[in-house]
Symmetry: C2
Subunit: 272 residues, 2 copies
């Protein structure tokens, strides 16, 4: 059986061509593709090697490869285009109409996307990562007042990865607070986060999914019992509702989706 290859080729990290290519391929999810990413293809020489790789791949299959490209240098782009494939190139497709609209030529140079374009902004982003790490699982409350948002939820409801994603992608200072049984027995908000009610955002999760995650971590513990999970989740949700804290269910959401949900709900803006 012949499988079609999808190439993601970039003069930088490949993140843009992958993102674009995956969104398009997903519209044909009845088909199977073999994926291959080639980052940092930024010289005519590398472009020639790339075209040769594409040609070899085309020869070995009855199905012509797809090539998703993010290459800003026109010379490099033209060489890659000699490879036998369907070329999906958004610079070719859109730069012309943008030049016309903006009344100025594109610089046709390697861009800074996904690089350090502005050191101060990049530092802010790394600072947000450090912030999230130092406030993981309620370790310290001394700087909670500097947090942009405080995620609250029971153990293993998805707080930590979401905090880290908010920091890495958007430079948002996200702290997190784990709701422990003592917190859940009270009708009040936990003492540590109470002064920051406006920054709180709750995460909830399907008890069955929580059980599976906890079981993976501590098999056959009380902590991983379905009854424990059910009652903790119910108590946490009751707390969110009682205090008017916005919350979302993490069960079927990726960290990317959660991050965007939280930013919308809390009206947070990226820091860079």
């Amino acid at each position: 059986m012949s499988v079609r290859t999808a190439f993601f080729i970039s003069d930088r990290t490949g993140l843009t061509s992958e993102s674009l290519g995956e969104a398009l391929l997903d519209q044909f999810n009845n088909l199977t593709f073999k994926r291959a990413t080639y980052p940092f293809v930024d010289t005519p020489e590398k472009a020639r090697e790339m075209a040769a790789v594409i040609d070899r791949t085309a020869e070995q299959s009855t199905l012509r490869p797809l090539v998703f490209e993010s290459i800003s240098n026109p010379e490099v782009r033209e060489i890659i285009k000699t490879g036998n494939a369907l070329h999906i190139n958004f610079f070719d497709a859109f730069l012309g109409i943008m030049e016309q609209e903006l009344g100025t030529p594109a610089r046709n140079a390697i861009g800074k996307s996904h690089g350090i374009s502005d050191t101060r902004r990049y530092d802010a982003r790394m600072e947000a990562v450090n912030f999230s790490l130092s406030h993981d699982d309620g370790i310290s409350d001394k700087n909670l007042k500097e947090a942009d948002v405080i995620l609250m939820g029971v153990s293993r409801s998805g707080k930590t990865p979401t905090c880290l994603y908010l920091a890495l992608q958007y430079g948002i200072r996200a702290a997190n607070y784990p709701l422990i049984p003592d917190d859940l027995e009270s009708t009040d908000l936990p003492r540590m986060v109470k002064p920051y009610k406006d920054k709180l955002f709750g995460l909830t999760i399907q008890p069955e999914r929580l059980q599976a995650i906890r079981h993976e971590r501590r098999p056959n513990s009380t902590y991983a019992k379905i009854d424990t999970c059910r009652s903790e989740v119910a108590d946490a949700q009751a707390m969110f509702k009682r205090h008017g804290i916005p919350f979302t269910n993490t069960t079927d959401k990726s960290v990317e989706e959660l991050a965007v949900n939280i930013m919308q709900a809390c009206r947070l803006n990226r820091r860079f």
Copy 2:
């Protein structure tokens, strides 16, 4: 002065339209744009609101907005297109030629990109995040053998954010080991990482930049002195060279670039 607005509109998180749009805008970096992202625009009603926002923005400026769209539903797409702007829509531009090449219609449905498309794969990614956190700063060596890569470098050389990015974006289990003065005085590799020499990757950094980062953290400490930074960096680089450990300089690289560099150098494949 009139500033042109760039809208990033998506029926999902907006990550693809931002990534595409920023790559294109960066080719016109002599101009200034005001940016606005609208995620989860997935119904005709939200599309009508969106078109109204675009129209209002167009009225308030002499410069027509740019709209970068990632919308899979053709009905929603058509409504947004009624907004007064230059519309950059890669589904419109590329789905047709892909349908022709692939011999099958696009499903024109909301995609799974940046969502949880496969729970098992998503779990592997979150597991990688947990792995990186539990192996941050050489805390534990008991599972170093499970690591895909071990980043080694002096304190504040960029190990932790890079590990987290490798985990979040690519599902790679990245551990890190901080080189402390004791390690740097020896000609041997640190005892803890020695058995895993093939997984080691070194991070180095310009001493002046390291000083600035350390000073931010512990002002006027010996740790932040330029002489300390210079000698630690020199010793670390000597260690990498002595033992043939691949390494890169993090000074001007973003975590995205570092992650891709490391994957290339260590021939790592994403885990999902």
